[in-house]
Structures are given as structure tokens and as C-alpha cells.
Symmetry: C2
Subunit: 308 residues, 2 copies
């Protein structure tokens, strides 16, 4: 099975309004709720691709209960650790006219040392069965900034390939613990390396410790710097839609390709096709299976010149 | 006891953000949740004033459960009718810098005929014990537009004084059933009568069926057209703050004054002082008890010339 870790799970609430007007009074025409947090999104896509998947992380309070209830029928096995605090909601307000989104993220629950210790026990136990593990998203309050570095080290000690998808200081610290793969987006990569030139920045990021770096560049696809080579992978044409969850679908593509022993170019093609099929799906964070099948053979994966 | 009816109860969620930027990504620094819907707000203020109060209306789904859990410790007795649909949330986004608010209201639950019949049974049973009843707020989907007219007629048949606080077509229909008191705000009054001149509009509204009409004019206080006379009541100075729930506090002032047999000028003074003390309270929909005590003797109630 594939394990995903979401320390800051969420109930993702999507509101559709005509237009968002500051200081206005809006009637929400549609309300959607789904279990969220990056690792949960990754797990849902993995489950939809047919991979046995286990989700761990924290869930607490009334919102945590709702997250678990909504997760139950979706496929991933729930190994979330109960916490005393309240799991956060994220509210995405979608404008019907333009499709543009405004995000409001609640703070996560304060996680205590005993709760962190319980997570580490569960994590260690699950690592033994996992073919790969993904560490995804932000840290809730109370979790130390080196938490991902600790989880990377434990995965490496267990011999389980580990992917890190986070940003800021948790990414910087996590990189130093030498994950097998880091998947920053363009902004996170620029913040980490100081460079806005993706290839240069991805290579720089590799030197900071990750064995491979795959950076998601939005509509431009992915750039990968690995020990086997460097590639740019791009969809056949720019896709328009709701990009929520597109990066998480890319992580699911990379992980499932790793678990299936695919080559790097095939993993990247899958990641780009899943990502684009997520942007095209009407519901945020879902992927359109027909679009995925149609896009997959049309993704271009181009090797880049080796570093001089 | 005083009965309040809230057909469209809500979980009122308040988010504090630095500034609300359309298409931006916001960290919510503070999350507050309270049971809401106008009649619930009225009942909370009545309970705080020491009046035994019963709340009926509809509550359903996970959010309905939260509303009932949060209502339990607050004083009003819970006689809400369970429904299959999901009670709505309202999200109020408050900007830390300016205090300005943006509202997002979910739609209410679809209420079926059996659920409406259950409400009528409970309502009729409670009317017999009530010294007054308030019918407050919007109608959820599935409830016919003449619902308040029906509830007004039943209150009149039971000999229970009935206050109506709603807008649009439900107000127009309800007025025709001759409630003892209608409390529209300035916008609702203008929509009902076509006049933006409050005194003229309040008198016109009386002719549409309500025995008395008290219109809330925001920072300008109240105007009352009754069978005993016409008054303007105003706070000693304009108050600044979050006006959420100010109109509901005015309703609580009017109802409690009625139940205690106060004169019209005293009822109006109480309503204005409670309303201003609600604007001054830090939490939306609460009233500041010290501000209320300080403001009450300083409210001006001025009789207006009789209609020619």
C-alpha cells in the first residue's frame, strides 16, 4: 500500500456565488464538502487509480468527525490520529461568472506532544507495510518545524521511498533529511532556492538534499531533476479550470508510477495528465477519468541537456 | 414564557481576516461559532434579560446538531423540530483593519410538508403557554410564502400577541394576517410600501394590517406607529461597531417590554438601548450589559405629530 501523511487535514468547503463583492451580502447557491488536506487529496486519487492507500495525520473535534465520515466511503483506509483540537475548514468561494476562487483557511488545531508521539508510533508501524510514503501540506500549530525532517529520516531508516510536498521552512528542513523526492510548486521552489528559473532552481534544490526534485509549474506542466536525468513534461495544450488539487494529483501520479516501477518519463506523463484532468473536472480536487485517458498519450516529455 | 420561531436557523460562523481580497488566499486568525437565525438571536437576548424563552423552528443535519449543542448552555429552551435537510451556515468575514464585514449565506434545508405539520403542532401547543411570540427571519426552501400569515392567524386565534420580523413577500403576506406588531428595517419597509420616508412608510405599513409598526433605522434608532401614538426613539449619539444582531436585540427589547407591561415609550427606549449595546459589543450578536445600562436612561423618545 501507499501511505500518505496529512498533519493538517481539513474539511474543504466550496461555495458558489454569483460574484464575490467585498462588504456585500451573498447567497451561496451551492455548497460542497469534501475531506481535504494535501495528503488526503493524494490518497483519494491513488485510491481512484486502484492503489491500496492508507491516510494518517490528525483529525479532531466536530470537523474532524465530518472529515472521517466523508473519507470513509472514498477508498483510502483511515489511520488518522484523534486530537483534542478542532480540525480546520478551508472555504473556497467560486465565482459563477468567472470561475475565479477566493480562499479562506481556518487555523489548524493545536497538536500536543502526546498526540505527536501517537502519530510517530502509527507512522512507524505503517511504514513497514508501505511501498512509498508521501508527506504533504502545512503543519498545524504545535508541530515543530522539523517535523517533516523527522518523518523523512524514519522513512529512510525503514527503507521506504519518501516524497515531500510542503513549503517554507518545513520544506527547507525536510530537504536536509534527504527525501527521495521533493515536489515543490514554482513559488515554493523559488522561496527555497531564491531562483525563479525552474530548471536552475530544481537542480539547486537537489543539491540541498532531495534525491530527485519535481517542480509543478501550473499550466506549463512539470520539470524534473533526477539522478536518471532531467525532463520537462507538459500537457498538449494549456487547460483552463479550477486548479485546486492539481498539484496533489501530480503527487499521486508520481507515487503510483513509483509503486508500479514505471520509468521517470512515464511517471511524469502520468503526473501531468492527472494534474490537467483535475483542472478540467467540474468538482474541485476530483479528476476527470475520461480526460485523463485522453490526455495521457498526448503529454510531451522532453529530456533536457545534462547540467554542465 | 416568550416564544420565538426561527424557520431558517443557522450556525453563524465569524472569520477574522486582515483584509478580504477577491481571488486571494486568506489565513483566518479567529473563528467564532454561535447558534443563529433571527429568532434564536432574539431568544438569547431575552434569556439574558431574565425572561423564560422557548425557541422553535427547524434544525437538521450535522450543522443542526451543532446549533442545538451550542444553544443548550445559553438559556432558551430548545423546542426545535428535527428535519432531514441540513441547517445552513452563515459566514461573516470581518476585516481586522476596518471592521467591515462580508456575508456568505448558505441556502437553508428543504423542509417537507410533514416537517411543517410537526412544527404547527408544536407551535400550537406552545402558544397556549406564551405571553408573546416572535416570528423571525427568512423562510427555508419548501416553506410556502404564506407560512408567516398562517402562524400569525394561529397566534391571534390563541390570543397570543404576535410580532413579525421578516421581509419581502413573506412580510407582505404576513401583514395581511394582522400581526400585533411588525418590525421591518428601513429597506424592508421601503420594499413593502414603496416609500423611503420612514414615518410615512410606517403609517402606510400599519394600514396594510399590522396593529403597530416599529421600523429600525440603523444608527438613527427606531420609528414607531402604534394605536397609542407615534414616536421616534434614538440613541444619545451614533454608535459604531458590528451591527449584526442589532435588529434582533431591538425585537427582544420590544417583546420583553410588552411582556412586562411597559408603556410604548419605555419599550422603545429599551429596544434602542439594547440595539446600540449590541453594536458596541465585541462579539457579533451579543449585547454589552454595561453599555445597555448606561445607554437606557439617555435614549430620547420623541412623540411625533398625529397623522392628519
Amino acid at each position: 500500500m501507499i501511505l500518505t501523511v496529512t498533519l493538517n487535514t481539513a474539511l474543504d468547503v466550496t461555495y458558489t456565488v454569483a460574484d464575490l463583492v467585498p462588504h456585500g451580502h451573498h447567497r451561496v447557491s451551492e455548497v460542497l464538502e469534501r475531506p481535504g488536506g494535501k495528503g488526503v487529496n493524494v490518497a483519494r486519487v491513488l485510491a481512484a487509480l486502484g492503489h491500496p492507500t492508507v491516510v494518517t495525520g490528525f483529525a479532531g473535534g466536530r470537523t474532524g468527525t465530518v472529515v472521517r465520515e466523508l473519507l470513509a466511503p472514498l477508498g483510502p483506509h483511515d489511520a488518522l490520529i484523534p486530537v483534542a483540537g478542532e480540525t480546520r475548514r478551508t472555504v473556497t468561494v467560486v465565482e459563477r461568472s468567472t470561475g475565479r476562487v477566493t480562499r479562506l483557511d481556518e487555523p489548524g488545531p493545536e497538536v500536543g506532544p502526546d498526540e505527536w508521539a501517537a502519530l510517530l508510533r502509527t507512522y512507524d508501524a505503517l511504514l513497514g507495510e508501505a511501498t512509498a510514503v508521501a508527506l504533504c501540506g502545512s503543519l498545524p500549530p504545535g508541530i515543530h518545524v522539523g517535523a517533516y525532517a523527522e518523518l523523512v529520516r524514519r522513512a529512510r531508516a525503514a527503507g521506504t521511498p519518501v516524497l515531500l510536498d510542503t513549503g517554507g521552512e518545513p520544506l527547507r528542513r525536510g530537504m536536509a533529511a534527504r527525501p527521495d523526492l521533493a515536489k515543490p510548486n514554482a513559488d515554493e521552489l523559488a522561496r527555497l532556492t531564491g531562483s525563479r528559473e525552474p530548471l536552475r532552481a530544481a537542480r539547486d534544490a537537489r543539491r540541498r538534499g532531495a534525491r530527485s526534485v519535481v517542480a509543478s509549474l501550473g499550466a506549463d506542466g512539470l520539470i524534473a531533476a533526477t539522478e536518471a536525468g532531467t525532463w520537462r513534461a507538459a500537457p498538449p495544450s494549456a487547460v483552463r479550470g479550477n486548479a485546486t488539487g492539481a498539484g496533489d494529483s501530480a503527487v499521486a501520479g508520481l507515487l503510483s508510477g513509483l509503486a508500479e516501477g514505471l520509468s521517470w518519463p512515464d511517471r511524469l506523463a502520468r503526473a501531468v495528465a492527472l494534474s490537467a484532468a483535475t483542472v478540467l473536472a467540474p468538482a474541485a480536487g476530483e479528476f476527470d477519468a475520461d480526460a485523463y485517458a485522453e490526455l495521457l498519450p498526448r503529454v510531451t516529455v522532453e529530456p533536457l541537456a545534462p547540467e554542465l
